[in-house]
């Protein structure tokens, strides 16, 4: 769905900036909501703790903040400079399936620099667990039954999943990336952009510690 994502993001970006600029994400950050949310791993067993860290993804909604900046003290997520949330549903859409190995690669590659978590919704956790097992997905997955985190996508007016969102430690959305359908060149572009965003966040973190 690469062309689709590009088209959507390309044509809608300007409008989105106007629509959502300054939006406060239900008075809480995505990270805060996610932290309180039950998580499921690939076996379908709830895991008590999913550490949210950072990640960066390419370009299209750069600079759109969802955090409630008036209450910055509430939005810290451990010491991670950023976090990556991958919104998906357990569909058999080819482009979505083709992205799955990339998620695990990001999770493994980013290590301590960023935490990569999946966010899914729906009523059947067993289905999700089956899906992750069959596709050998290794990232932690949050179960967003009530679509609390998914409301980010509504706000973005971005109906396509999978959608990869990068937020800083305050929960401000830094980037959003649509599906790349397993295409290596675009995955490389995302890696490059992620590294740049992470480096920037790490630099800010170090500055604040001086």
């Amino acid at each position: 769905m690469t062309w689709t994502a590009n088209k959507v993001l390309g044509t809608a970006a300007a409008a989105v900036v106007i629509l959502v600029g300054g939006y406060a994400f239900q008075a809480r950050t995505a990270a805060e909501v996610a932290r309180a949310m039950p998580a499921i791993d690939r076996a379908g067993v709830p895991t008590r703790h999913v550490r949210l860290a950072a990640g960066r993804l390419p370009y299209l909604y750069s600079g759109i903040a969802f955090a409630d900046r008036s209450q910055p003290g509430e939005t810290k997520v451990e010491s991670a400079p950023a976090q990556i949330m991958i919104f998906f549903t357990e569909t058999d859409c080819f482009t979505g399936l083709a992205d799955l190995p990339f998620w695990s690669e990001l999770h493994d590659a980013l290590g301590q620099r960023a935490t990569v978590v999946g966010v899914t919704t729906g009523s059947d956790t067993a289905r999700v667990a089956y899906y992750l097992k069959e596709r050998d997905v290794r990232i932690p997955v949050l179960y967003d039954r009530d679509r609390i985190l998914f409301s980010i996508l509504d706000t973005l007016r971005q109906p396509i999943t999978p959608m990869l969102i990068v937020a800083d430690a305050d929960g401000a959305v830094l980037r959003a990336f649509g599906s790349v359908g397993g295409q290596r060149s675009q995955q490389d572009a995302i890696r490059k952009a992620l590294n740049a965003v992470l480096a920037e966040q790490e630099s800010r973190l170090h500055s604040s510690l001086r």
Binding site: T4, T95, D124, Y130, E134, G182
Partner: protein, 351 residues
């Protein structure tokens, strides 16, 4: 094994002006009318494929009804599942991988009159041809994200059509991902053609093959079926202008959406219609729409029937599932996603 279409045709009244009564012109002016599924089908016994904990049927793929078996390309497990006509899973074939006999997100499966089986091994960019024992006979390279596989059953001129479209750029219908490729059964590509520049093969296009091996193509959000001849040249455009289509006209995209972002938002937020399947059978074109978020009392799947020259004959047919067709004829498929998943098949013997 397709049933006679005489009943379908007989059910189609004609309109004649007084002056031309009895003339050929009169006979060529059919009146379209609303219809029900019983007007076109003698529904056969239902076959229910049931998933198990090890092989859940969660994929939206359409099963292929063969005279002896039912094949299902399981995109999630990357296996070919084989059922008997009682719906019992009798065999699984393959595993994830890239070697012959292995699959990566197989997207669809068909068989031909000889019992050979053709698997659209989409993730590996190829078609794997299996013999009756489901051993690999040959591997046909079909680069790109080919979404559709059509295997003709014409023994004299066998051909395999692959339709690539998922990453077809809107701006370039000649891009590799947009091409329609045709192979013979030896695996030799005999033709590759691009659709018209104004009609790039967009995401989730639907396709069918006519009796003269014309390829019928429609974009899922479009309002027309484009017919391409064997030479790859477009022969005609069939405008889909039925009452059932018009009912959703306000939220249906034009054939070439100018603002696909808006369309996608509509897909999520609004009731709308999309083309769900094309089937050519008995010299008729069956165009099925899927109403997403239908109003209370409305059917999710609605079928219109056109003659191959584009005249609307029957419309507004509520159906018990997605219409597809194999050599056994048309049949309806309904997916059930609860539990381990299940898929029901309801043959439609054309009247």
């Amino acid at each position: 094994m397709l049933s006679s279409h005489t009943a379908v045709r007989a059910a189609l009244p004609t309109i004649c002006s007084f002056a031309v009564w009895g003339t050929a012109a009169c006979a060529q002016q059919p009146v379209a009318r609303a219809a029900s599924v019983s007007d076109i089908c003698q529904l056969g016994d239902e076959i229910t494929l049931r998933g198990t904990a090890d092989h859940r049927l969660l994929s939206a793929a359409l099963p292929w009804l063969d005279p002896r078996r039912v094949y299902f390309a399981d995109r999630l497990s990357s296996k070919l599942l084989v059922f008997d006509h009682k719906g019992q899973l009798i065999r699984t074939v393959g595993t994830r991988g890239t070697a012959p006999g292995e699959y990566e997100m197989p997207y669809s499966v068909q068989s031909d009159e000889t019992g050979w089986v053709y698997v659209n091994d989409r993730g590996n960019g190829r078609v794997q041809v299996l013999d009756q024992g489901l051993q690999v006979l040959r591997v046909i390279a079909a680069p790109g994200q080919n979404e559709q596989l059509i295997v003709t059953r014409d023994a004299d001129a066998p051909s395999i059509v692959m339709l690539g479209n998922s990453s077809c750029p809107e701006s370039d219908a000649t891009a590799d991902a947009c091409l329609v490729r045709q192979f013979d059964h030896s695996g030799r590509m005999v033709r590759a053609f691009a659709t018209e520049p104004t009609h790039p093969v967009m995401h989730s296009s639907q396709a069918a093959m006519g009796p003269d091996r014309s390829v019928y193509l429609a974009n899922v959000l479009g309002d027309a079926v484009h017919v391409y001849g064997e030479n790859g040249k477009r022969r005609r455009i069939i405008r889909l202008d039925s009452p059932s289509m018009r009912a959703f006209a306000a939220s249906t995209a034009p054939d070439m959406p100018a603002d696909f972002g808006t369309i996608l938002q509509r897909l999520r937020d609004e009731s709308h219609t999309r083309i769900r399947s094309l089937v050519v059978a008995e010299k008729m074109l069956f165009v099925q729409f899927q109403r997403v978020k239908p109003a209370a009392g409305e059917s999710q799947f609605v079928l219109d029937v056109y003659s191959l020259d584009g005249a609307l004959r029957l419309y507004g047919i509520a159906t018990p599932g997605i219409l597809t067709a194999s050599g056994e004829g048309p049949y309806f498929v309904a997916h059930r996603s609860d539990g381990d998943g299940a898929i029901s098949i309801r043959p439609c013997g054309l009247r």
